[in-house]
């Protein structure tokens, strides 16, 4: 019997061969998903609630947008006057210096700190103490760290550098510690079996495995520090941030735009360079 001999049925009829569905229960295609519904409702209610708490209202937004339009018009065209450009240049250079030094020192210091924090290399209490320190460094925003250093050592680039060193340590030491903890103990044992002192143990056994990945992290940190170097100046840490803050206070909005554009270019350049670095050492 070929297909053609079968009775032709229209669309809604079932072929005689299939079992009829249980007609008693109407089948439900989409059982209500209460989790999602409640979550969506909660989210919507939250937005309304939070807006009221934060005093966000339509009027304020409308007024704000009018204001913003005026602002933006004052920002254009960006100010490229020679004296401003010189200020910009000085600020950018200082930011660059801060970022470079902070990354370099951070890289140097993160190696010992990371090694100390590695639970497979150093005694546990020491390792935990080091880890706690690293967590502390990471939790606080570089801006907060910068402000504290400004209060401690005064305004200027020193505070900025110190703040970014601390921020870099928070990131890099953690990675070093993790890399050391992950690495193969066999190689370390092999070197240790030769009776080598601790330092050469570190250099021959540990470092080779860690260094390659480390360059990648350092590139990332350089990029991050470049971004943050623009910020620490806002609170007194030197660099382009200070220039920006002053410009705001003086209502030099067209200069503000120039600075912001310069920061964008700096950040993008930083991304490109760090990308090169990572590819170069891959």
């Amino acid at each position: 019997m070929t297909r053609r001999d079968q009775p032709r049925t229209n669309m809604t009829d079932l072929s005689p061969r299939s079992p009829a569905p249980s007609s008693a229960a109407r089948r439900v295609a989409f059982p209500p998903n209460w989790q999602t519904r409640i979550a969506c409702l909660a989210l919507a209610l939250y937005v309304v609630y939070a807006c009221s708490i934060l005093d966000i209202s339509r009027e304020r937004l409308m007024a704000g947008f009018a204001h913003a339009a005026r602002f933006v018009s004052r920002m254009f065209p960006p100010n490229f006057a020679p004296d401003k450009l010189e200020l910009l240049y000085t600020g950018m250079v200082e930011s660059l210096q801060i970022a470079v030094i902070a990354t370099a020192v951070g890289v140097l210091l993160s190696l010992p700190l990371g090694l100390i924090a590695a639970r497979n290399l150093s005694p546990l209490p020491l390792a935990w103490a080091a880890r706690a320190l690293i967590v502390l460094f990471r939790t606080f925003h570089p801006v907060i760290i910068a402000i504290l250093f400004v209060k401690a050592v005064g305004f200027g680039a020193l505070a900025g550098v110190l703040a970014l060193i601390v921020a870099s340590l928070g990131f890099l030491s953690k990675l070093v510690a993790e890399a050391v903890e992950e690495m193969s103990m066999q190689q370390v044992e092999a070197v240790r079996a030769t009776g080598a002192p601790f330092l050469s143990l570190v250099i021959m056994g540990v470092l080779p495995q860690v260094v390659a990945r480390f360059i990648g992290f350092s590139a990332y940190q350089l990029d991050s520090n470049l971004r943050n170097s623009a910020l620490v100046g806002l609170v007194g840490g030197g660099g382009i941030g200070a220039t920006l803050f002053t410009a705001f206070q003086r209502f030099d909005y067209d200069f503000v735009l120039t600075i912001v554009l310069a920061i964008i270019v700096l950040v993008m350049a930083g991304e490109v360079v760090s990308g090169w670095m990572r590819r170069l050492f891959q």
Binding site: Q6, R8, N10, S15, S18, P19, R27, A29
Partner: protein, 265 residues
């Protein structure tokens, strides 16, 4: 009947035929994958297109519903030239053509029945699809189709929990959900084991046959083609080299289509 016979209107189903005229597709200029192919597919039964890989069978099928844009030629169906349609017109034409894919192409995170209902996306307003408020008769028909393909108990399971054969059944149900005038199948069994392949081909043939929908299948398994198709079209190097009922397909034709020696018993 062969590929060069001009279209003749027949008593029944003339207006349901698909007419391809001088279809040409060049992915790279000067190297056509389809060389002025002409073909008339009557509005009933299963037409199987066989041929080696790269010979343009998949391209041919995909030109019909414009997943691939032809370089030249006409595809006449239901009074329209599919090769010329765009935008909304194309969408309206597409919703009348169901397609079954080699890799099933289900939305894996959605449930089986929701996948089947995706066949109606060309018919229901978007808000209904988004809020899952499909019309009741559509939902009912989705369940019936699932029963018809043997997956009635799997309706609310997520699609990625199904086996390959089961997923293809969902794909078939989805294609039929569109109430299509034509079903296209692009290597529907190539990812399945031999036994499941037979089941799937049978399912396609039977379910589409019941609803009197013509099928065009692109398949590389000659035995399956012979077993289920009413008409076999053999392609080689972008041209049609055989066109006839399965019983007319002889070894010398296969050699012409596939080339080579010694692979035939």
């Amino acid at each position: 009947m062969d590929a060069s016979t001009p279209f003749r209107s027949t008593a029944v189903g003339a207006e349901r035929s698909l007419i391809i005229r001088k279809l040409r597709k060049e992915y790279r200029a000067g190297q056509p994958v389809l060389k002025d192919v002409s073909l008339t597919v009557e509005g009933r039964g299963m037409t199987a297109i066989i041929g080696p890989s790269g010979t343009g069978k998949s391209t041919l099928i995909r030109c019909i519903n414009r997943l691939v844009d032809p370089t030249a030629g006409e595809i006449l169906f239901r009074g329209q030239d599919l090769a010329r349609l765009n935008g909304r017109q194309l969408r309206l034409a597409r919703r009348r053509m169901g397609m079954v894919f080699q890799e099933y192409n289900l939305v894996e995170r959605l449930s089986v029945v929701e996948n089947v209902l995706c066949g109606r996306l060309g018919y229901v307003p978007v808000w209904r699809a988004w809020l899952r408020k499909f019309p009741a008769h559509d939902v009912e028909r989705a369940f019936q189709l699932l029963d018809a393909v043997g997956l009635g108990d799997f309706a609310t399971q997520r699609a990625d929990q199904l086996s390959g054969g089961q997923r293809q059944r969902v794909g078939i149900a989805r294609a039929l959900m569109q109430e299509p005038d034509l079903v296209l199948a692009d290597e529907p069994t190539s990812s399945l084991d031999p036994k499941t392949s037979v089941e799937i081909m049978e399912l396609i043939a039977r379910r589409a046959g019941e609803r009197d929908i013509p099928i065009i299948v692109n398949i590389h398994n000659v035995d399956l083609a012979r077993r289920f198709a009413d008409r076999i079209v053999g392609m080689a190097k972008g041209e049609i080299v055989f066109d006839g009922p399965p019983r007319a397909l002889q070894d010398e034709h296969l050699l012409q289509i596939y080339g080579g020696e010694g692979w035939l018993e």
